[in-house]
Amino acid sequence: MSTEPRLTWNLAHDVSEVLEYHFMVNALLAGSVVAVMAGLLGWLMVLRKETFAGHTLSMMAFPGAAGAALIGVAATWGYFVFCVAGGLVIGRFSGGGRGRSWSEQSAVIGSVQALALGLGFLFVSLYGGVLGDLDNLLFGTFLGISDGQVLVLVAVALVAVSALAVLGRPLLFASVDADVASARGVPVGALGIVFLVLLGLAVAATAQITGVLLVFALLLMPAASAQAITARPGLSLGLTVAIGLVVVWLGLGIAYFSPYPAGFFVTSISFAVYVGVQVWVWVRSRARKETYIAERPTEGVIA
């Protein structure tokens, strides 16, 4: 008899087989926590059009891991520290005001990323060894998630989500209309910095599951899909979390039965949802345009 996991036609049996293993339960728990946190913060990231900032924060993994190796602590700690510091730096230097146009903001974020990666190379050169954790950090792992790691993720998620619960209303106001919010006395700049720090936490946590390269699978794609489906904030926020959870569960489930990394499946499913939604929105808008043209009165219209 083979000990390889095998997919059968009996879905209930497959699910119970997956759940028999402690490491799979841990993976699903961690994945669910991350999906919720990444969904909430990613939703705001898409709304605030800070995708590039989110990507730059994910790249902080490299200097984080290399710096941690240099001083001899676990890579995760270096990662969290660099992500939060990166959020602070981007928030401080790319924030509105002081005559920076939006085109210059993208240059600032790019410069921060390049500088961080440069630091990473410096740390590797000073360390002189091989970074053992780098593969897991880049491509994600779900096999070896310990109870302790799950606890850390839950704690980080609790901090991030409760901060969002407190700041959610002014943050939404500042994200949708910064000028009016600032006129009403909302500290728009400070909120932007706090948001980027929270985003840094979420990115570092998400990377534990998907790997650094693929954090957008949970951070960006569910939120972008949900916001394309509906403009109502509450509904699309709920949809974001729901899509993220389904993507993680399916991705981890399929990865259990296959030799390929979980990150690939999570990304592919998430991307399929994203493309499907975009196509649906496009088809719907075309159909609307056609009915509009068909019903439009012909007289008195300037072509």
Binding site: Q105, V108, G110, F121, Y260
Partner: protein, 276 residues
């Protein structure tokens, strides 16, 4: 320093790649497309892996992937510029699509990498993909010459389309009304950026591409009001950062040249924000 062959190769390739990055970077910053350049450097790696999987030369996949994704970003960019241009402080909405697409392409890269490491005959493919992404001190003389030629050609093309591209970037509606093919220019520009990204990524690494694309050009935007002066200044500052970084990397043991180059470039930008 100049008696070492690796140093001469690094200077030759580095100068022209920096020039291409600085010149095209001026337009990249003007159009707010630094993220697009970053994404292009990321898809180079899966492109090379896919070519290796198909048994083709890695360069085919490398340039093919960046140019194809560049064309896609150009197509998406047009739509977002139409809506996002007017409001100050708003980034183009195309960033979301860029993020989604390059993450998926990276996901495919992860899949291909696993495919290689689990199948028996794939070892050489990984090896090829690894050696493909060299460091600037590891260039052969043939590679350095090729990098210089591609860099120079990119600068020439960029100067050739500079005038209409400037018009189309600053005022897309008016340019369109005057018969400038704004959409075609936008797509062509990102495809050209794809060529620069592919060459820079394989020759000197993605890190240098990003640093040289964003920082010197942003400094040039601050320091020069005239567009042509700005383009020239962007190229000059990038080359200056490259030369200074190479010299520092050579002189100080343990300091990677790419770190020195990027630090100088970002330092130039930071100084420019204090001055202007």
């Amino acid at each position: 320093m100049f008696s070492q062959e690796f140093m001469r190769n690094a200077l030759l390739a580095g100068t022209f790649i920096a020039l291409a990055c600085g010149v095209s970077g001026w337009f990249v910053v003007l159009r707010g497309q630094v993220f697009a350049g970053d994404a292009l450097s990321h898809v180079a790696f899966p492109g090379a892996l896919a070519a290796a999987a198909a048994g083709l030369d890695e360069r085919v996949g490398l340039f093919g992937a960046t140019i194809a994704v560049g064309a896609g970003i150009g197509l998406l960019g047009r739509r977002s510029f139409a809506g996002g241009r007017g409001t100050a402080g708003a980034a183009p909405a195309g960033d979301t699509a860029i993020g989604a697409v390059f993450t998926f392409v990276l996901g495919l890269g992860v899949f291909l990498l696993t495919l290689f490491s689990t199948s028996s005959g794939g070892g050489s493919g990984i090896q090829a993909a690894h050696t493909l992404f060299g460091s600037i001190f590891g260039l052969g003389s043939g590679e350095a010459r090729l990098a210089a030629v591609i860099g120079l050609a990119a600068v020439g093309l960029m100067i050739a389309i500079a005038r209409p591209l400037l018009f189309a970037s600053v005022s897309p509606d008016v340019a369109g009304a005057r018969g400038v093919p704004t959409r075609l220019l936008g797509i062509g520009f990102v495809m050209l950026l794809g060529v620069v990204a592919a060459e820079a990524t394989q020759a000197v690494g993605a890190l240098l591409l990003l640093g040289l694309l964003a920082a010197p050009a942003a400094a040039a935007h601050r320091l020069a009001g005239n567009p042509y002066a700005g383009i020239a200044l962007g190229g000059l500052l990038a080359v200056a950062a490259m030369w200074g970084g190479l010299a520092l990397g050579y002189a100080i043991p343990g300091l990677p040249p790419s770190t020195a180059i990027v630090t100088l470039a970002v330092g130039i930008y930071y100084t420019s924000t204090l001055v202007a």
